[in-house]
């Protein structure tokens, strides 16, 4: 969870699950999010700035934020669902 360099992380929001509480926008240290006043939901505006601190993903009460490495061909041992026992 160590903060990494900028520009290595994709930040995605499931709009269907976002309730627009604004926590991500308020506490992201890099101002990656903005609240969309019309939709009443968060949206990603500064993805390049993200340092992968993890705060938003851990604190979104609705599990609506997904962080993933930009480089998609990371090895599959990184896949948590493989570890989860049924």
């Amino acid at each position: 969870m160590a903060a990494t360099k900028k520009g290595l992380t994709t930040v995605a929001i499931y709009p269907d699950w976002c309730k627009g509480c604004g926590l991500c926008a308020a506490f992201c240290p890099k101002k990656v999010f903005e609240m969309d006043p019309v939709a009443g939901k968060a949206r990603v505006v500064n993805e390049e700035e993200c340092v992968n601190c993890g705060f938003c993903e851990l604190h979104c009460p609705d599990f609506a934020i997904v962080l993933s490495p930009k480089n998609t061909d990371t090895d599959s041992s990184n896949n948590p669902t493989a570890k989860a026992k049924p």
């Binding site: 309730k19 308020a26 604190h59 009460p61 997904v66």
Partner: protein
């Protein structure tokens, strides 16, 4: 961090309606995420975990996770947990309660579960209010604060959950908040690995029912508040008495590994079993040499069994 949300999805019941029923910004959702991550990190299988909840917004969490889940009645979750743990000590029992649940209607069960040191992990989602029923005061609503039933300010003092757990005999006591998801993951993880009664107080902002009545502009302001007023418990202890006002210590307050009730019970049973075996052997020996040995007197209360054997011997 790429795995966090995908991981959570692996443990959610996707045949339930999402997003969940909680209000926007409700701290309870953050706890749900922490719980899932902690169970995952502890390497537990879904089948061995039992999540037991009371009634309240906090009680509704159980339905969303793909474990064995039991949504009990208001205040009684710990009594179910006690029965389940004693009935099957192999199960990992996690109890989710609201502050009203755990301290008002269920306060007696809480102190007794701690005193017994039953092997249960209890998490109290403290939002300082009755969320589900529309914002009436609870036994953790701070003095002078407002609620639907304290329109002129709360006159009564509130419980300090950590103090109460410490005084009642819990094995592990920690406090964390919805602003501190990482700490929450950490303490739940520690609890899951600790025997006996482990209690975690989780401060969980409820803007809908508490914040609005107490001058918080929005949910964010409540998280801001948690951010600014909390301090690691060790640092807090080092603080001068006069500087502690308004500071909320968080972290682990106590951790010990006294044997859990179910373990002690198993110990007693093992002893009894051994004694029974010895007695049976002695009886055998006595039968071989009937003249000398005398049957030990049957002990009081075990009448049925003893009579049964006596009659059998005579018949």
């Amino acid at each position: 961090m790429s795995e966090v949300t995908q991981l959570i999805h692996h443990y959610l019941r996707h045949n339930k309606k999402f997003p969940h029923m909680l209000c926007a910004g409700c701290g309870h959702g953050i706890l749900l995420g922490s719980l899932i991550r902690s169970v995952h990190n502890a390497g537990l299988s879904k089948d061995e975990v039992v999540v037991i909840s009371g009634i309240g917004c906090s009680g509704r969490l159980a339905v969303y996770v793909d474990f064995n889940t039991i949504h009990t009645t208001h205040g009684r979750a710990l009594t179910f947990a006690t029965g389940i743990k004693m009935a099957n000590p192999e199960l990992v029992v996690i109890v989710l309660m609201g502050d009203g649940d755990a301290l008002s209607i269920g306060g007696n069960h809480l102190i007794h579960a701690a005193r017994r040191n039953i092997g249960v992990n209890a998490i109290i989602l403290n939002n300082e209010i009755y969320g589900m029923t529309g914002g009436q005061c609870s036994s953790t609503t701070p003095q002078d604060c407002f609620s639907m039933t304290t329109p002129f300010g709360q006159l009564e003092k509130s419980f300090d959950i950590v103090d109460m757990a410490l005084a009642s005999g819990a094995n592990f006591v920690a406090r964390t908040t919805a602003f501190h998801a990482q700490l929450t993951d950490e303490v739940i993880g520690q609890a899951l690995a600790n025997p006996g009664f482990n209690l975690i107080e989780f401060f969980s902002p409820c803007h809908t029912q508490y914040g609005r009545k107490n001058k918080y502009k929005n949910a964010i302001a409540m998280y801001q508040d948690l951010k600014s007023k909390t301090m690691d418990v060790d640092k807090y202890k080092a603080l001068e008495e006069s500087k502690r006002e308004g500071v909320m210590p968080i972290g682990v307050f106590l951790k010990r590994d006294d044997p859990a009730l179910e373990t002690r019970y198993a110990g007693v049973r093992a002893k009894l079993q051994e004694a029974k075996q010895k007695k049976a052997e002695a009886a055998k020996a006595a039968q071989a040499k009937p003249a000398k040995a005398k049957e030990p007197k049957p002990d009081k209360g075990a009448k049925g069994k003893e009579t049964k054997q006596d009659k059998g011997d005579k018949a």
